[in-house]
């Protein structure tokens, strides 16, 4: 049994199937990687688990601790311990880094929580706390701040949408720090990634193609499939019938 279980989840936009009959168990306290070509439906999967408004019209069910969360809104899911680190974090006018992290941390989050989570992602609290989470920060800085706010929130399940995209080598190191911290706390991570380095940190991986699950297993098992089948694949995003799980 997983902490998050998808039961035959399908989702279409304008009659185009985007997620197809997904049944996946995400085991508790594991780091799960989700890989697959662009347009495979990876972000859609994360958004659907988070319950974003455009992604609520799916069939099938999503269970959290064995109970359906299908009818819960984003904030209700978040209050129960599920959160999402966005691939491209939002920009906010007039909201400081400190306030942003503080509000994610909730009542328990004091100044120390804000500072230590910034330190974890390699940002100097003295230099960043008072700045606004707006366009004056680089995309990479905003992604680190996004991760810092998630660490401060202490969720049970984190959906991470490409934490490694559009960031420099230093930031990859901070992703490792964050994964280490989450692992130590027993947080379940569902992480979409394109980086082989980041993939190596996962305990388990799922391969999506055209909204369907085509492979799963340890990272080694999956990597070999990925290299044998996906890398030479010319028909982008159309899985072979026989491999569908």
């Amino acid at each position: 049994m997983g902490i998050i279980e998808l039961r035959d989840v399908s989702l279409s936009f304008d009659e185009h199937p985007i997620l197809q009959h997904l049944s996946i168990d995400f085991w508790e306290e594991h780091i799960h990687a989700v890989v697959g070509p662009n347009g495979a439906g990876k972000s859609t999967l994360a958004h659907t688990i988070m319950g974003l408004p455009d992604y609520r019209q799916h069939s099938g069910d999503i269970l959290y601790d064995g109970k359906s969360i299908k009818h819960l809104s984003v904030d209700q899911r978040a209050k129960q311990g599920i959160t999402l680190a966005w691939q491209e974090p939002a920009r906010f006018h007039g909201i400081s880094v400190e306030e942003f992290i503080q509000r994610a941390a909730g009542k328990g989050g004091g100044a120390r929580t804000v500072e230590s989570s910034l330190e974890l992602v390699g940002l100097d609290p003295d230099r960043y706390m008072a700045r606004d989470v707006d366009a004056t920060l680089s995309g990479g800085e905003r992604k680190r701040i996004e991760l810092a706010s998630i660490v401060a929130m202490e969720p049970r399940v984190v959906l991470m949408d490409e934490p490694d995209s559009g960031v420099d080598i230093d930031a990859i190191q901070s992703i490792f720090e964050v994964l280490g911290k989450l692992k130590q706390r027993g947080t379940t991570v569902i992480m979409i990634t394109h980086s082989g380095e980041v993939l190596k940190r996962a305990d388990h991986a799922f391969l999506l193609c055209s909204g369907a699950l085509v492979d799963k297993g340890t990272v080694d098992q999956l990597s070999s499939y990925f290299e044998r089948k996906c890398v030479p694949c010319t028909h982008k995003n159309v899985p072979d019938e026989e491999v569908l799980l």
Partner: protein
């Protein structure tokens, strides 16, 4: 009411006191048509004349004077009525000062506050003006500020208008600025309207000087049945003149907001841009905060407070 009592009561509405001014700080307090108090510093001249319905004020900052500490003005009405301020401000060459004005109508329910300002900045002068309004909760305040600003070469004028405490009532801002060579103009307004508040802003910058620059920014939030209309105009007619118009309005409930930017460029080496975002709270911002556990109401409030912040 004695001048002293009026002064104390007026300052109390903006959480200040006669003794809260640091030594060497200039400040002027005007209640209705009475000048209650004038404290000046070197380089700053303020002459005022009481009229039937207000005060005529002449302000001069001497050539070369650099006034480091902010100069405080407080305009207010403790009772209902009309206050008409006519103000002439003259910054001579290379004069520099920052004025902070509080307009307090927190204790009255029906007030009309008219402000007609003529502002002249000589070459190299720098004038920064911050105006904060504190209104009562009843919504019966009507504020009509008009200003005509002339910027000589290499001068800078930056103003910020804030009305986020109490009800707007009705506000009708009309600012016009004429910008000389290498001058810099910045107009920013931050206003929050609710109930049946009416907000109208017209700001026009004429970038007639070579390499003059202008930025017009409006951050407005309206809820209930409030309405906002923003007319922002930048005209660039000279080589290197550059400007930007930025209008961000958050609309909730039955409120309505309109933005009409006019970008008028009449020189091939001039450049003006504009961006406008009008409507409900940005959905990505909202969903991000909700994914951190804030309720929709908390998230909306946090985003609006951010928008209205400096």
């Amino acid at each position: 009411m004695s001048d002293k009592t009026a002064l104390d009561r007026l300052l109390a509405t903006i959480n200040m006191h006669r003794h809260s001014f640091e030594e060497g700080t200039a400040h002027v307090e005007i209640h209705g048509n009475q000048v209650l108090n004038t404290v000046l510093v070197e380089g700053l001249h303020v002459e005022s004349r009481e009229t039937a319905s207000g005060v005529d004020v002449n302000i001069l900052v001497e050539a070369g004077a650099r006034i480091d500490k902010p100069v405080y003005f407080c305009f207010g009405m403790l009772e209902n009525g009309l206050q008409h301020i006519r103000m002439r401000v003259h910054f001579q060459e290379k004069a520099k000062a920052r004025f902070i004005s509080h307009c307090s109508f927190a204790a009255a329910s029906e007030v009309e506050h008219l402000m007609d300002a003529e502002i002249q900045l000589d070459a190299g002068a720098e004038y920064s003006y911050f105006e904060r309004h504190i209104h009562s909760e009843q919504g019966g305040i009507r504020v009509v500020p008009k200003a005509k600003v002339t910027l000589a070469e290499e001068s800078r004028f930056a103003t910020e208008f804030e009305l986020i405490k109490g009800r707007v009532g009705e506000i009708d801002i009309d600012y016009e600025a004429y910008c000389g060579d290498h001058s810099v103009l910045e107009l920013l307004s931050r206003i929050s309207g609710r109930g049946d508040d009416r907000i109208k802003i017209r700001e026009a910058g004429f970038l007639n000087g070579k390499y003059s620059r202008g930025v017009l920014t409006s951050h407005i939030a309206v809820r209930d049945s409030a309405r906002a209309e923003i007319y922002n105009e930048l005209q660039a007619t000279a080589e290197g003149a550059a400007g930007h118009v930025d209008c961000n309005e958050i609309v909730q409930n039955q409120a309505q907001a309109k933005a009409i930017p006019i970008v008028d460029v009449r020189h091939p080496k001039a450049h003006v841009t504009h961006e406008a975002a009008i409507g409900s709270v940005d959905s990505k911002q909202l969903q991000t905060l909700m994914s951190r556990g804030l309720s929709e109401e908390e998230a909306v409030e946090m985003i609006i407070q951010g928008l209205l912040r400096k």
